[in-house]
């Protein structure tokens, strides 16, 4: 085997409350396409950020081109020939292709830009990619796939030796994916190495030479694609023993259908008007039932939840509560019909960081603690906070404490209490345990069980498969805005779920 171009060994990285990487590693050979695989939260992004200089590792070493190196900054990594293309492009949309390719490195005398030279060099690079793009086109007017090509052109113009692509195919149509693969193979033939971070195993089998799998921040396996099977790789990706810490849901009695979502469609996103955000999404949730929604990032899970809750509009489809169609155009409508939503991003979407625990908790249920129609009855409000502090075991010094000073787990319990105080029929929880420690996770799970037992219909969206398996009665998988399958908890395991959410409908 040739000497590797890149060798990252024993990389460790700790964030407050989480060991993101622990003995992670990655070896990439010259002139190969390497797949970096793992579940959401396995540490792929963190490893890529360390490689690209955006973050510094706590432990471990990086060898690049036979030398020990430290990537002090993204600029430093680029100077050494490592360029990362993130899922969210970093192009300046109102500037031309040529300006974007040479941004920060414009050719020209002194402070002036030599436009002629910049355009010529851009044309040379795009020709090398086999593309016909006019260097003076404005980036905003390009399609997503073309914008991605501009990113690649920029990487080439920096004389890169290693290009990292984070989920490069997630926003592309299948013909665009083919084109990307052709370009990537060309680049490989020219001696470049490419790291593909992806969830799509079919594509990995099609285009990659070797793979590395991370799980819980550790390197768990690597090898040649030629010797691997999809099943084998899935087993490596999920392969944990379901943690004994997680309580399993007991058999429960479920009642009548409370929420029915029928044929939800939503077209268009910021980048592409023709893409479907939601395509014919239907599902049912019964009284006392927990339905888990599994899918990769961008599968449309959050979009479905926000559409049902009235936070985002949808183009067509119906929402029925207890058999009657309801018209939901705003969160206010949803709340009136007994739907609550615990959003995925606690700090941005749920908390009022500058306000006290008490005011945060009661925010959705002022109507219950009002006297004379306008004054908040603070006595009743304190009693409400005390009730949920006990029920949910919220650890706080005082109800007057700022919510910002609570731990993530306790903040999440306050957010849950905000909805419980309202007595909802349906509660949608989006990533209910994101960013909270393991003990609090178990508490949140038990809480969800209790809510279901009290008769609430619960929809739980989670990117952690073992969590979905631990808390759901029934699991619905989504991919690219569509429901790709439905399975009972007792029939499911992580391998099955992973293939339901990664393989396209016909392959599954």
């Amino acid at each position: 085997m040739a000497e590797p171009l890149l060798r990252m060994t024993l990389i460790g990285k700790r964030f407050p409350g989480v060991q993101a990487l622990d003995d992670a590693g990655l070896e990439v050979l010259p002139g190969e396409i390497h797949a970096l695989l793992g579940e959401n939260g396995a540490g792929k992004s963190t490893l890529i950020k360390i490689l690209s200089g955006a973050q510094q590792p706590d432990t471990g070493t990086i060898e690049f081109g036979g030398q020990m190196v430290t990537m002090a900054s993204p600029h430093d990594a680029q100077r050494r020939g490592i360029v990362t293309i993130y899922q969210e492009f970093t192009l300046a949309p109102n500037m031309t292709i040529a300006e974007n390719v040479f941004i920060g490195r414009e050719p020209g005398p002194g402070v002036f830009v030599n436009w002629r030279k910049m355009a010529a060099e851009t044309r040379a690079i795009t020709a090398r990619l086999g593309l016909e793009l006019r260097p003076m086109s404005i980036v905003r007017e390009l399609r997503v796939a073309e914008q991605q090509m501009v990113e690649i052109a920029r990487a080439l113009s920096m004389k890169s030796r290693l290009i990292v692509m984070d989920e490069p195919t997630s926003a592309l149509s299948s013909s665009e994916v083919e084109k990307l693969f052709r370009i990537v193979r060309d680049l490989k033939a020219q001696g470049l190495s490419i790291i593909f971070v992806t969830h799509r195993l079919e594509e990995v089998m099609q285009v990659c030479d070797r793979y590395t799998v991370l799980r819980d921040g550790r390197l768990v396996g690597s090898g040649s694609i030629a010797d691997a099977t999809i099943d084998g790789i899935i087993r490596l990706i999920v392969g944990r023993q379901v943690s004994a810490l997680f309580a399993h849901r007991e058999e429960t009695d479920v009642g009548d259908v409370v929420l029915k979502v029928d044929g939800l469609f939503r077209r268009g996103n910021a980048q592409d008007q023709n893409a479907s955000v939601l395509a014919d999404v239907s599902l049912e949730v019964r009284r006392g039932e927990i339905v888990g929604i599994a899918g990769l990032v961008g599968a449309g899970r959050t979009e479905m939840a926000r559409a049902v809750f009235g936070a985002d509009p949808f183009d067509s489809g119906r929402v029925l509560i207890e058999g009657r169609e309801v018209h939901i155009r705003s969160p206010q409508d949803a709340i009136r019909h007994g739907i609550g939503l615990v959003p995925e991003d606690r700090k941005q979407q749920a908390l009022f960081l500058a306000l006290a625990v008490r005011t945060n908790l009661s925010m959705a249920s002022h109507m219950k603690i009002l006297h004379w129609g306008m004054f908040i009855d603070e006595e009743a409000e304190r009693a409400m906070v005390e009730e949920y502090r006990k029920k949910l075991n919220i650890r706080m010094a005082s109800p007057e404490q700022l919510i910002a000073s609570l731990s993530g787990g306790n903040q999440q319990k306050v957010t849950l209490a905000r909805w419980l105080a309202l007595g909802p029929k349906v509660l949608i929880v989006d990533e209910p345990t994101r960013g909270i420690d393991i003990g609090a996770k178990v508490e949140v799970h038990n809480l969800l069980f209790e809510l279901a037992r009290s008769g609430i219909a619960v929809i739980a969206i989670s990117s952690e498969l073992h969590e979905v398996l631990a808390i759901s009665d029934r699991i619905v998988t989504m991919r690219e805005g569509r429901v790709t399958g439905e399975i009972k908890r007792e029939d499911a395991n992580e391998e099955i779920l992973m293939s339901m959410m990664t393989l396209s409908a016909k392959a599954a």
Binding site: L353, A354, L355, A404, S405
Partner: protein, 343 residues
Amino acid sequence: MTQDLHSDIQAPAKIDIIGFLARFAPLIFLIVLMTGFALDEPRFLTPLNLFNVLRQVSIYGLLAVGMTFVILTAGIDLSIGSLVAFAGLVAAAVSKGGLSNRFTVGAGQEAASHGWYLAAFAAIAVGLAGGFLQGFAITRLKVPPFVVTLGGMSAFRGGALLFAAGGPISGFEPGFVWMGQGRIFGQVPVPVIIFLAFAVLAHVVLRYTRYGRQVYAVGGNPEAARLSGLNVRAVTTSVYVIMGFFAGLGAFVLAARLNSAEAVAGTGYELTVIASVVIGGTSLFGGVGTIFGTVIGTILIGVLLNGLVLMNVSAYIQQIIIGIIIVLAVAFDTFAKSRRRTS
């Protein structure tokens, strides 16, 4: 679990120091300032001078109370000076008995004259309408508050100049003038009573009502407020209407005090008023602030200007000092916000 315990015990202490400073720094600064002036100039602490200071700030104070609502939602209103001029002129014309009588000399004995309450009603109606228009443009047309009210600043001033047709409108009936120049118990100026009464009312609204909670919530995190079922658009519009109410009321009191209304009245008020609110600890980022702080901030600026006058400091230097204080107050606010974020 240990992490939970740590953050539960340690964090509040850290927050409280910043919170305490944010709340009481203006008051402490005010006391220090007054002590300093009193030592330097004995005339400063006489009741007469203190009431004069309060009377001078009472119109700024009324506007600052309205501005507190706006800034709590992370908005801004630059149009208030112009709106004060426009509403004042309308009040003056109503008091004089209509547009055609507005340049009649004298307190209206010869011409038709209406009571002060009609004038007050007219000024407030103009303020409410102006505020609603701007609130509508901000929430429905989605133009940033800075731009909408910058436009309002120009448009209302133009309206005032048109309405005044060049000259001031002066000489009102005694009841009107008393609202600006009268004193109760021979000591307390009427504008001071009006200012403090409305400050108390606004404090009750913000602190104890559901609406008050909604203002803080919309300012602190509009997305979270929307997802909690609040009508963010209605709340945002309403604060500009409230600001308009106070601009109308302020215009009425100003016209009464000067016994005159003119098109250039209120020029530059927005800066002093915004400064009072920010110095009083209300965050320009929204969601943090109190009426108590705004009252202190208003008095602080009044005392500072008054003391500097008594010490014969040039008016130009006064402007420089006010400018520096505003920047420092916002710098402190930014610092406090970053502490909240990272904790």
